[in-house]
Amino acid sequence: MIWTVFRVSLSRLLHNRVELLLAFVVPIAFFSIFAMIFGKGMGSTQTPKIKAVVIDSVQTAESQQAVERIREIPCLRMLDEHDKTRPINEQQATDLVRRGMVTLAIVVHQRVVAPVLPAGAEARSMPGVLTAELLSDASDQVASQVVTGLVTQALMPNHIDLGRVDPNPLMVPDGVRQASSMEPISAPLVHVVDVLAADKANPVISMYAAGIAVMFLLFGASSGGGSLLEEQENHTLERLLTTRITMDQLLLGKWSYQTMLGVVQVGVMFLWGWLVFGIDLWRHFDGFLLMTLVTAGAAASFGLFLATLCRTRGQLNGISVILILTMSALGGSMVPRYLMSETLREAGLFTFNAWALDGFDKVFWRELPVAELWPQMCVLMLSGAAFLVVSRLLALRWESA
C-alpha cells in the first residue's frame, strides 16, 4: 500500500510539468540569481566600482596631484573619466548625487591650521592641509565607508602606508595647542556629507516599503488575472460571452479593478509606513500618487498577460511565482540594486520592479520634482499598454472557434 501511494505520487509529479519546474528548476534558478548578486557584487573579493566624480576646489599643484591619486583609486569609476576637459563645480556635483548619476562626489578643499604656540615662541605660518568632503548618497551605505579611507590615503600619501586606513592621520606635536576658533588639527581629513538624507525622517524605510509593495502588487495582479482562468475553467467565461459583455469590456473591467486594488494596497502600505515608521508621505504625495497609479496599472496588465498566456491556474501559479520572484530579485525588491554588479543592474532594467523602485526612489529619497519621473512613468505606462494589448490578442482564443 505504501509503495502504491509512493508510485501514485511520483506519477502525478511526473505528469505535472509545472510542479516539476517548481521542484527542481526554480530553486536552481534562484540559487543562481542570488549567487550572481552576492558573488559578483556584495561579498566578493572584487568590490563593484562606485560611480564618483572629483572636484578640485583648491587648484594647486599639490591638490592636482591628490585629485590624480583619487582618480586612480581602483574601486572608483569616474563619471568624467573619458572627458576631463569640462570640470564641474560643487553645486553640479551635489546635483549629480541627488539625481543618482553618481554615488559620491569628492570635493578637495584646503584647511588652514593656525596653531597657538607656547608663550615666547616665535610665530610662524603653517601650510594648509588638504581635506575632502564626500558628498554621498546614503542609500548606498557601503560606498562612503569604503572610500573614506582610500581618499584619506590619496590626500596624504606620505603620512599613510598604502593599504592602511586611518581617518585621523595628522600627528600633532607635543605642546602645540590649537586656537579654539580653528578646526582641530586632528580633525578627520575626510568629511562625509549625506546630501540626500540630511533632513529626512527614516528615508530608507520608504525604499523598503516600495520594494515590498511592488513585489506584492505583482503577486496580487497575477492572482487577480487568475480569476479569468477560474472563470474559464468553471465555464462562467463562456456564459459571460453569451451576454452583452464583450471580451474588451471584461478585460478592461478586470484591469481597472486590479489597478484600483493595487493603488489601495500600496496606499495602505505607505500609510502604515507613515504612521509607524515616519515615512514623509504627505510632502511627496503627488509623486507617490503618480508612481503608484502607473505601477499598479502596469502590474495589473502584467497579471492579465500572464493569465491569458497560461492554460490553467496551476500553470499560472507556477509561472508567476518564478517570474515575480526573479523580477523582484533582479529589480531590487529583495536586495538593493547598488549591491549588484553592473551587468545585473542592467539586467534589472528589464523588470517592472527596477523602474518602479527607481521612481519611488526619486520621489522619497532624492526628492526630485514630479517632472523628473517621466522616464519611469513612460516605461511603466508603455509596458502596461503593451501587456494589455498582448492579453487582448491572447484572449481571442476564448472567443472564436
Partner: protein, 313 residues
Amino acid sequence: MTPNTAALRIEDLRKSFGTLEVLRGVSFELLIGEQIALLGPNGAGKTTLVRCICGLTRPNSGEILLQGKAIASHGGRDAIGLVPQEIALYQDLSAEENLSAFGRFHGLRGSELKQRVEWALAWTGLEEQRKLRVQSFSGGMKRRVNIACGVLHRPSVLLLDEPTVGVDPQSRQRIFTMLSALREEGTSILLTTHHLDEAESQCDRIVIMDRGSVAAQGTIAELVQQTVGNERHVRMRVTEPLELPIEGWQFDATSPGVGSEQLTTRVDDVARQLPLLLQKVTAAGYSVAEVEVHAPSLHHVFLHLTGHQLRDT
C-alpha cells in the same frame, strides 16, 4: 406571431475543426413555447451545435434564424439564454449577488433588475437563502440558481445543457416545474440530455443527432413509427436453460439464445401471437416462469438509430 412560428430555425449548419467535420448540415426548428430534447451519443455534435446557436462558435456555413431573422454568426444574443451543464456561477457570491451580476451582464438595470432578481428568487424557491453563498448550497439549489441566471433577461429561446445532472428526484421535479412555468410564458426550450426518460416525459419533440447530423426528429410516436415500428418486445423466462432452439420461435437481436433461461422476441399483435408463443414453449417441454411485454420506448429508438457501440472518440 402564431404558436406555430419557429422561435429558432437551424438550416444546414456545418462546422469543421481542421479536417474533423463536427456538424454536417444540421437542420431543425423549435416552435414558440415548444420544448425539444436534443439527444445523441457523446461526440454527436450537440455541444458544438449549442455553441453555434449562442454565438460562441462560428459555423462554416448554414443559417441560424431567430423568429425568422438570420442572426450574426458570432457574439452574444439577447434573445437567447444559455444554461451550461457546469455550475457557471460565482461560488463565493450569494444567490442574490449572482442573479444581480448576471442580470447586469444581460443589460438589466435599476428597478427592472431588482424586479427580475426578486422574480428569480421566488421562481427558484430560494428567497430565504438569498444571502447565502452559492458554495454552501446543495447540488439542486445550485442548479436552480444556474438556470435562473440564464433566464433573467426573458430570452425567447432557452438552451439548457443537461440541467438535471447530479440532482435528486425532488430537485429534478422542481426544475421541470420551473421550466413549465417558462413555457407558459412563451419561452422555447432546447434541452440536451442523456436522461431518455426525461426527454420522453418532458419534451414535445425529440431531435436525435449522430455523427454531426440529425438522425431523426419528431414526437415519440413518430420516432417509434419511423424506426422500430409498433412491435412489442416480449421477454419470457423459463425454469431450465434451453438445450435446443424452440421450433417456430424467432429470437431477436438482444436474446441470449440456447443455454440461457431467457427468451426474447418481437410481436405485432400481442393478443393473437402471445398465446401461440406460450404453446410452443410448453410443447418443447419447458415451464414458463415469467412473461413481460414492453411497448417500444425512446431507449429502443435511440439504440436503433445510434447503435450499441461505445462512442469514446
